[in-house]
Amino acid sequence: MKQSDLFLFPLKVGLSSLLWKRLLQLLPWQSPIYTLHSARQSGRSVAIRHIDGGSSNAAEQEVTALFNPIYDLERFGFELVTSPRAADLLLITGPLVRNMEAAVLAAFHAMPEPRRVVTMGDSFQDGDIFSGCYAVIPLPDEIAAARVAHIPGDPPTPKQIMAVLHELSLLAK
């Protein structure tokens, strides 16, 4: 058992999971103390499968940067996995285009339940440079229903992506 787990152990057994979740929601997430080691606090790691839904590759650059030694998302318990079958989270960068619809849905269905999706980038919203393109489509209903968060930004910076993922991993328990 890791040191941090030992430290949290009394808290974990002392409170029911629901109460624990409520308590977590009350904490000031923006403070640096809480934004670190969040995935470990929640007691589980998060496996992410990233899918390019048809983006201009800027978003991919930022997802790659998340795992460089400066941001190093892996030390907080997040990892990129190659198969959606091993993923807790599908991270889709947009806009979603017609030609990727079938592929994204196939990846989504390959995920184990419960399926969770995070979308990333302003191109999922109206008013973006790509909105109205004939080959750009809205998020399929199934995927939209499983969406747990949207990270705004064009594309969001690694810091912004990290902040949202941390928050999610805390609430995911």
Binding site: H50, I51, D52, G54, S55, S56, N57, A58, A59, E60, Q61, E62, V63, T64, A65, N68, P69, I70, Y71, L80, T82, S83, P95, V97, R98, N99, M100, E101, A102, A103, A106, A107, I129, F130, G132, C133, Y134, A135, V136, P155, T157
Partner: protein
């Protein structure tokens, strides 16, 4: 303008025998009209013999305009001099076939595919090009072609809804193979943070690649149509920045230069310098990132991590200067708008520090046996092959072809004699590391060295441009454009040598200040066939083999594909549009 009279003179005579010359306002461009397809083929052969290369080709729906027909435009460049040849072919009204230039210029193939799918124009002598890899993955759209002007967006949207892109065999079912051979399909989603596309490998045995088929189009967004629908000449730079996110500055620069050529405006000297600085900053950041990815794919994690940190430092520097990590939002047709006053001293210092660390790491890599074994003579694209298929940019230079728009067609600040001097000595003469005296042979190692060399050169250029910076606190270096005075249906060509190669924009104005047609050409479109060739087995004389008469057969192992692919690092989004 370095174009000497004799060449343009003899060329003019040659072209006049095949077509009519049209007036061109730009001194380094010659503009001809050819109506007869057969004569165009003849002219193509002549141009091929004179070593001209194809820059871009595209169709335009001008049925509403004075010629009442489709037109096909070809842009060629002289191999050495600053001379563009722009050929326009008017198809007879109601005719949707043209003569393909593919026999003389194989590089025209991806453009013909675009014409077939987006315009419904087909070459008369070749097989139906949409049978090859396709953009729309919906062969049964009927008479709906997205870039025809009588075709509405909603119609196409409705028609496309019934055709999800196939996940397996986008190029049709593969044929039966002899025993021992097999197909290995990969994609469209890959095992990593990269863009989507399908690679179909024909394997000779479990490891040996016999053939690679590349099927792209998965990120097709309909960008060229979007230029016409939602943007006007003044705002189109926003969409240009979204064509390929990692070369956003090169794209917006080429777009802005096309509009400036249309309006006949020369931007202020400061704006020109800034564009040079930012273009080189983008090059530095991306080349460093590519080297990091290459090292990472070979499990050389120490240099890979250090280089990834350097790339992050570059992006943070961009963010400090531009308020955006990808240098977006500054280019405007007519000049540059800075979000805050420039601090040249800080940039020079930051770049110098990054470059120094980077060169140390690059030297470390070039001396590592593990790195050399996996890169030297791997993924070879020989000079002959590269010339034949017409690749461009960094890939062409790494194969020993001297093709650089900064030298050959100097734009903006690159026309300065000192900048030219820097470019010429660095690209051809003084090699940076001892190892660089090695000739560029078109393998992965050469492409890596080329990146190192270009980063070093970029640092010199950034210093050179910033030394001339007039120390002003002003942030607005933008001239107003008088687009109302430009004739309707005039067009302009803009080009910039981005980090992948030359980015070309062709912009035609309509009656108002909107875009009638904008053709985007990312260097990736020309370079994807290069990746295919580099993956396939070759028979040639190995340069370092003792017996020079003995041709050797090179084979590519499947495990080398990620490395070869990274060494090209082409844009899917810029290709699919």
């Amino acid at each position: 303008m370095t174009a000497k009279l004799p060449v343009s003179h003899s060329l003019r005579e040659l072209c006049q025998s095949f077509g009519t010359e049209l007036h061109s306002r730009i001194p380094n461009q010659m503009h001809f009209l050819v109506t007869d397809g057969q004569r165009l083929l003849k002219l193509g052969e002549h141009l091929r013999n004179e070593n001209f290369y194809l820059v871009t080709a595209f169709a335009n729906d001008e049925r509403e305009l004075e010629d009442h027909s489709f037109k096909i435009y070809y842009l060629f460049s002289h191999p050495v001099q600053d001379l563009f040849l722009f050929i326009e072919q008017v198809l007879p009204p109601e005719k949707e076939e043209y003569e393909s230039l593919e026999p003389s210029f194989p590089a025209v193939a991806p453009f013909e595919r675009e014409m077939a799918e987006l315009f419904g124009l087909f070459p008369s002598q070749a097989a139906h090009p949409s049978r090859r890899a396709s953009f729309l993955h919906a062969p049964a759209l009927g008479s709906l072609y997205p870039l025809r002007r009588d075709c509405s967006q909603s119609e196409i949207q409705a028609a496309l809804a019934g055709f999800p892109a196939p996940l397996a065999n986008p190029g049709g079912s593969p044929p039966l193979l002899p025993e021992g051979e097999m197909f290995l399909p990969v994609g469209p989603i890959h095992a990593g943070v990269i863009e989507p596309g399908v690679f179909l490998f024909r394997m000779g045995n479990e490891t040996r690649v016999e053939e690679l088929q590349i099927h792209l189009g998965y990120t097709h967004k309909g960008i060229e149509r979007q230029f016409q629908n939602r943007f006007d000449l003044q705002t189109g730079w926003r969409l240009a920045e979204g064509v390929s996110g990692d070369s956003a500055f090169a794209h917006s620069l080429a777009y802005c230069q096309a509009v400036e050529a249309l309006a006949g405006v020369v931007v202020p000297a400061e704006a020109s310098l800034l564009r040079g600085v930012f273009l080189e900053l983008e090059r530095v950041a991306n080349h460093i990132g590519d080297c990091a990815a290459l090292a990472h794919d070979m499990a050389l994690d120490l240099p890979a991590s250090d280089m990834a940190v350097l790339r992050e430092k570059c992006l943070r520097l961009h963010s400090e200067i531009a308020g955006d990590r990808f240098l977006r939002g500054m280019n405007r047709p007519g000049g540059v708008l800075l979000p805050q006053p420039l601090e040249p001293g800080k940039i020079i210092k930051a770049v110098a520090k990054i470059i120094q660390e980077y060169l140390g790491l690059a030297r470390l890599l070039t001396e590592l046996n593990g790195f050399r074994e996996r890169t030297i003579q791997v993924g070879v694209l020989s000079k002959e092959q590269a010339t034949q298929i017409g690749v461009t940019g960094l890939v062409a230079r790494a194969s020993g072809i001297e093709r650089d728009f900064r030298i050959q067609h100097p734009f903006g600040p690159y026309g300065q004699p000192n900048a030219q001097g820097l470019l010429r000595t660095q690209m051809t003469g003084n090699r940076l590391l001892d190892l660089m005296s090695r000739e560029m042979r078109g393998d992965v190692f050469s492409r890596f060295l080329m990146r190192v060399q270009e980063v070093n050169l970029s640092a010199h250029l950034i210093d050179h441009f910033l030394e001339q910076w007039p120390m002003t606190d002003s942030t607005d270096f933008c001239l107003p454009l008088e687009l109302e005075r430009v004739n309707a249906f005039d067009f302009g060509i803009g080009y910039a040598e981005g980090w992948r190669g030359d980015v070309i924009y062709w912009v035609m104005k309509d009656k108002f200040n909107r875009i009638y047609r904008c053709k985007v050409r990312d260097p990736s479109t020309l370079n994807w066939p290069g990746l295919k060739v580099a993956m396939e087995p070759q028979t040639a004389v190995a340069p370092q083999s003792s017996n020079l008469n003995q041709p050797t057969r090179w084979e590519t192992a499947l495990a080398d594909f990620p490395i070869i692919n990274k060494s090209f690092n082409l844009s899917y989004s810029g290709n699919d549009l």
